[in-house]
Symmetry: C2
Amino acid sequence: MSEGLRERKKRETRLRISDIATGLFMARGFDNVTVAEVARAADVSVNTVFNYFATKEDLLLDRTPEVEELLVRVFLERGPGESVLQAVRRDFLEALGAGHYRYGFHEGGDVFIRIIEASPSLSARVREMNETREHRLAEAVADELDADPDDLTPAVVAAQIGATLRTVVGYAVRRMLAGETVEAIAPDLRRQAEHAFALLEKGIGDYGARREGRQRS
Amino acid sequence: MSEGLRERKKRETRLRISDIATGLFMARGFDNVTVAEVARAADVSVNTVFNYFATKEDLLLDRTPEVEELLVRVFLERGPGESVLQAVRRDFLEALGAGHYRYGFHEGGDVFIRIIEASPSLSARVREMNETREHRLAEAVADELDADPDDLTPAVVAAQIGATLRTVVGYAVRRMLAGETVEAIAPDLRRQAEHAFALLEKGIGDYGARREGRQRS
DNA sequence: CACTAATTTTTAAGTCACTGCAAAATTTGT
DNA sequence: ACAAATTTTGCAGTGACTTAAAAATTAGTG
């Protein structure tokens, strides 16, 4: 009784709609494709589309939950003695080195970036995503360090880390929009990231560092 | 030949629409008021409303340009030896002390905050505003220090300052939504701001400090 | 004042995301 | 095979926003 016909069909339909929508968006841009077209191409009614996806933006940005939890995960899985900032920087650089570009959403290359950058509503969505990503991190940090509810430090640190990350990613985005590949940018990007995080680290110090002999993972 | 009838009427009409819209939004919330209602109350057609304001959000957030240039102005007018961060912090604390709450948009008290917080599209607009505010600051800093185009430092610093500011303001907003007045929050807010900026300062140091004998204002 | 050009306002018709609801189709368990 | 639960669809909105052309207003000139 792992999965009934109903569940399977739902999963398939959802995936089909999302895939077809993404394809159309890539081919013609987000704002030049209507939900009705997506529905027609996926052979469902418009209402069914909205049954699976709350907004048109969700058709493309379906993995936002993962992105929003990314920093929390990195924080919770950080090594002994590693500070919040150290963990994020390490994970970012690892991702960069491994070619897994999880910080620029999607491994699809610059196609997604172009779609998002060209659409105001998608850009707005990404900003929202960044915000909640920082809020989640702040929560997690405050929680694990059981900080005083009136202590803004977790929120400040999370926001500053998020700001740094966004700036560095923004740099990469700009160069990718100019036509360069991730591989071509990587060395510069690494340098910029190290510099940007260093700028922040001297201020944050070891705040949030997990104490030795108390680590989780 | 200071101002013809036509210009005066335009100015008046624009102001009337904006004022009436703001009044309606305050009374019944942003999403419970249609543009058609605003138009009817202002005794113009819907198209005239859109003639003056590009979006419904602009009916309320009409002063965004000022907010977006705020940090640039503070930066450009900073005193001798004062760093970017020092200037922003000083201006923020001055505003707080003087009761001029220009960092929490509008002196109207918590009413605006409530309207904005209750409306997703307005919140999105505020996020966008914050972003361009940081971009403007980054531009101005890079410009005045004539930084290398590949130097991310101005952008990183601007983003981190913006993040800090947003966090502190967010703290105030939360307490105001809980019913407290600005005056009641002020002391805590001051302390939090000093702490948050201190957190950042140790990392930023004197970056962006105007060199002695070279100031502008 | 009269008359024309420029500008603003309105009217009308439409697009598109998204909602609510009831009917129809499908799946499930028995 | 039948009834209950669930999913899909059709239909009729709502509301922000666009476009284009007609109508009203204002400006400038003789």
